[in-house]
Symmetry: C2
Subunit: 140 residues, 2 copies
DNA sequence: ACTGTAATGTTATATTATATCATGAGGTTT
DNA sequence: AAACCTCATGATATAATATAACATTACAGT
């Protein structure tokens, strides 16, 4: 998946610097959202400078370029499962195991845009987070 | 609208105390989301005790009973436009004027639930926030 | 070497939210 | 009425999340 991202960076003339790459890797290794200060701790463990702006800048960059998404209801961050592609993600947040999965449900966002268009509102971006129980947890 | 709420409170044996009512009224008088500390200031202006827990407790109560919704992407709160009814709201947040409107689009949430069900995820609650430009702002 | 831009370092502070324990106001039971 | 229970509020402190501001460095283009 880093391959896609490398290509995207070259094409768009942006740089995945060491700290940005490290944050991305940390998020890709997790199935739960990580808070900025958790990320900061992990960065410190990995030998990076550990002041808050370091983490927030890396996260801002990653979110801006679509490599990472912010989970608003948790103030946490997750790696995108389809980076580079322009999409309106839907997140499934499990109340039992805290896992966050990005659903491939792209239809929803356009349905939503259309429904809201009828009210005169022009949608530019949607935040869709579903809380519930994931299939793994449902089995137990 | 307070009528519905009064009835709901009686039916459910819960109390809309002065501070809770005041917070609700403050939110009903606004078309934008208000942050907890903004509410705290307004409470102080109205002669109430102004420590953070006062506002958060009132907000927790109001959200818990569906009289108020939290806008996760803003850490702000808005009064519900259909309190008492069990619903999955969709919010339209204008980037220009900051107004927050609750859309009557109830279909979206059930569509979403069904789409996610296919992945094995059982939706209990959805957070849907659409950012864009409201009809008023579009005209200008 | 000079210059412009993006990135990082560093310190301080702003904003949002909760933990904890004490006090009070109303009902219910005895 | 007194004792008791429950819910709500008062009050202090602190945790968790996020940004402002300014200094320094890296590095590409001239
Ligand atoms: Zn994504
Ligand atoms: Zn789970
Ligand atoms: Zn509502
Ligand atoms: Zn507007």
């Amino acid at each position: 998946m880093i391959k896609n991202i490398d290509k995207y960076c070259k094409d768009n003339n942006i740089k995945l610097t060491p700290v940005r790459l490290k944050v991305l890797e940390l998020l890709q290794n997790e199935k739960c959202g990580l808070g900025a200060y958790r990320i900061l701790d992990l960065l410190r463990d990995a030998g990076f400078n550990s002041q808050p702006p370091v983490a927030y800048r890396a996260l801002d960059f990653l979110v801006e370029h679509g490599f990472v998404h912010k989970i608003e209801s948790q103030n946490s961050f997750v790696a995108c499962t389809d980076p580079g592609a322009h999409h309106s993600p839907v997140f499934m947040i499990c109340k039992k195991c805290d896992s966050v999965s990005e659903a491939p449900a792209s239809a929803t966002a356009s349905d939503l845009s259309e429904a809201l268009m009828a009210t005169g509102f022009k949608v530019e971006q949607t935040i869709i987070e579903a809380e519930g129980v994931c299939s793994t947890c449902a089995d137990t």
